[in-house]
Symmetry: C2
């Protein structure tokens, strides 16, 4: 310990204890994270146990079983990955694309772009079909592209958090099977909130996150894959070029072998087990109904205040609403006003929609009538203060 | 909602609430995770805020500053990655190796093997020098290999959790600079516990974990890189073949730009902020002294009970002790006995040392005299019950 005297104190800041006075209380009605259920936060704070402890192994099985219910599937390989949603998104590419293989990505928002970026890093032959930000693809458009391009994977975002569009998925699974192609679905903003049937819709690969429909903090990304995807993985001629997200290694830990891969984020798994328990407790039918009815209430309320919604009613996403910022309003100033003076977070538009729409999330624990009423009331009383020249325009 | 009636209840398990009666209370004296500090667990359970919230951005800066203190460095790019330790290990390979570039890995345990596996996935030209599991490399051995092999990266594990060896690092930094090579150090089991000077020792790249010296639950992996490593990253001719761990993207979020990359694991960052605050509060000089003295107490105690330590005193790792399982004892049965009847977890040997040693961890919050006394007392009274034929042999 002769060098102890050389310890630099340059960055040794003396900070206060982190508590509720230091972390502000927020109602998170943006694109996510959403507020966690208080029961989930209690579970999160339990003392960690070993990642190979029998009690933890049992909890892993519970998480997997409840994930299967929430995904509505019976896939053997169903697990939460140890990273936020983008980690499982990347796993869905890294494990199933070999260099030069064709992936067709249906891009209609920011997260389609992310899939394109990831696929290109794994040397996929990337084909893209595009839609305006705020529209959905028709079945016929997808059919034409799959039949023409013959990809090995077709990827689409179910619920586009950047645009507020809900993409209909029925029929695409059959189409993919006929064309010998895996059907990959981004369910980041739909799992545990909106109608989603992995098995019935013949979805081969899907991923999501913990901080939206599951009412947990961000940090885990649920993933599921069926036998068709397993076969594609087994047929690889090269090692998966990503160790942390290698599904064959992950499945040796989450499967019956229980072979150590990486040290699991134990407490986040306590949290997701609790979030999933609450979902099973309420029942998917009730959860889906709740998210739909609260969204409709929000949409009607905003429209009755004279505001325009960005997405046509047919494709509107119940978990995330894009509402147009009235031309006379400084969108950022209004968002900051809600955050600073009322503790409510709503989101700015992302990418092409930045400054054009606000994004309002009603997800998981936060999808309730009280939150809708509170927000509509604030739009009614506060928004007029932010018009640059005239408050009669909305 | 016409399909609601089809919801399968096959996996809809009715589980009890997750609480202290369901998750057993454990004293984690194995290779990690270690117990989290109760203050850390309180911070972990705070309600999440947005990952672009001003209050969160400020917390990110605090985490970075306190990490710089704990690493003893002034590196601009110093951040916790959103995954467990292996994620940052992989980032250290993925960002800095281009296909065909030579990496020299000094392998003396399980985690050296992991580095080899990762490097090969990124198409590195992998050279390996090996030592028996339980030994350390000499400076001369490393010097000879670096001068002969001329790698672009030299990688070594500071504290090998699989063997209990502490590798001396002094002088290697200068050697690497002379040979135009980056010096990469795995500090998973040393950061926040043992003497470590990133700047003074001229370490270019280093990574660690949250669940050992930092007294947090597993889930984040602190990482730091200096200007030499930045230059290597900037000189890349190809995109980093890993999106989630791409340091140029990560640094746009953690750096002054604050550009959204992935949704941060907000609550885990609350936890690490608190873990790091407690470290600054105690002071590294006191923390390093505490870990050393408790380890020495454990070593003396085990030897006075007639037990053999696997590593010679010169290279013994204070955070993780490998103690030989006496020949007459069923190692697994004894470990299970401690876990089931006393709530204490110690680890089995990993890989080549499985069944040959137990691994005893004294890390972060758990490195205290009371824990040492408790464990030594149990070794004194309980171990003799597990001798297969004779209790006088130890």
């Amino acid at each position: 310990m002769t060098e102890t005297k050389l310890i630099s104190t340059l960055n040794k800041e003396n900070l206060p204890h982190l508590d509720k006075t230091y972390v502000p209380s927020r109602l998170l009605l943006g694109p996510g994270p959403s507020n966690a259920n208080p029961e989930v936060l209690k579970a999160l704070a339990l003392n960690p146990i070993g990642h190979l402890d029998e009690a933890y192994i049992e909890l892993m099985s519970e998480v997997q079983k409840l994930l299967r219910y929430t995904w509505q599937c019976n896939n053997r390989i169903t697990l939460p990955m140890s990273g936020t949603g983008s980690a499982a998104m990347e796993a869905s590419i890294a494990n199933f694309i070999e260099p030069g293989e064709k992936i067709l990505i249906a891009k209609k928002g920011y997260f389609g772009d992310r899939l394109v970026d990831m696929a290109s890093r794994y040397n996929a032959d990337v084909s893209v079909i595009e839609k305006e930000w705020g529209e959905a693809f028709t079945f016929e458009e997808i059919k034409y592209e799959i039949e023409t391009k013959k990809p090995v994977i077709f990827a689409i975002v179910h619920a586009e958090t950047s645009t507020g569009v809900l993409q209909p998925l029925e029929g695409i699974g059959d189409l993919c099977r006929k064309n010998n192609c895996l059907f990959l679905v981004d369910a980041v903003t739909s799992l545990g909130a909106l109608e989603l049937f992995i098995d019935d819709w013949k979805i081969d690969l899907a991923y999501s996150c913990s901080q939206k429909g599951l009412s947990c903090p961000p940090g885990l990304s649920p993933f599921t894959m069926n036998k068709r995807a397993e076969d594609k993985l087994s047929a690889r001629t090269s090692k998966v070029p990503n160790w942390y997200l290698d599904l064959s290694l992950l499945n040796r830990y989450w499967g019956s072998d229980r072979v150590y891969h990486h040290t699991a984020p134990v407490n986040m798994n306590f949290a997701i087990r609790e979030g999933l328990r609450l979902i099973a407790n309420e029942g998917l039918e009730n959860i889906w109904r709740r998210h739909n009815s609260n969204a409709i209430k929000l949409w009607k309320g905003l429209e009755s205040l004279g505001m325009d919604l960005h997405v046509s009613s047919e494709f509107r996403l119940p978990t995330l609403t894009t509402v147009k910022i009235p031309p006379a309003v400084d969108g950022d100033a209004y968002r900051n006003h809600l955050l600073k003076n009322f503790g409510i977070e709503i989101g700015n538009g992302l990418g092409a929609l930045s400054g054009k729409v606000w994004r309002i999330g009603l997800m998981g624990f936060n999808s309730n009538e009280e939150n809708v009423d509170r927000l509509l009331n604030l739009f009614d009383t506060e928004l007029k203060k932010f018009s640059i020249f005239d408050s009669s325009s909305f």
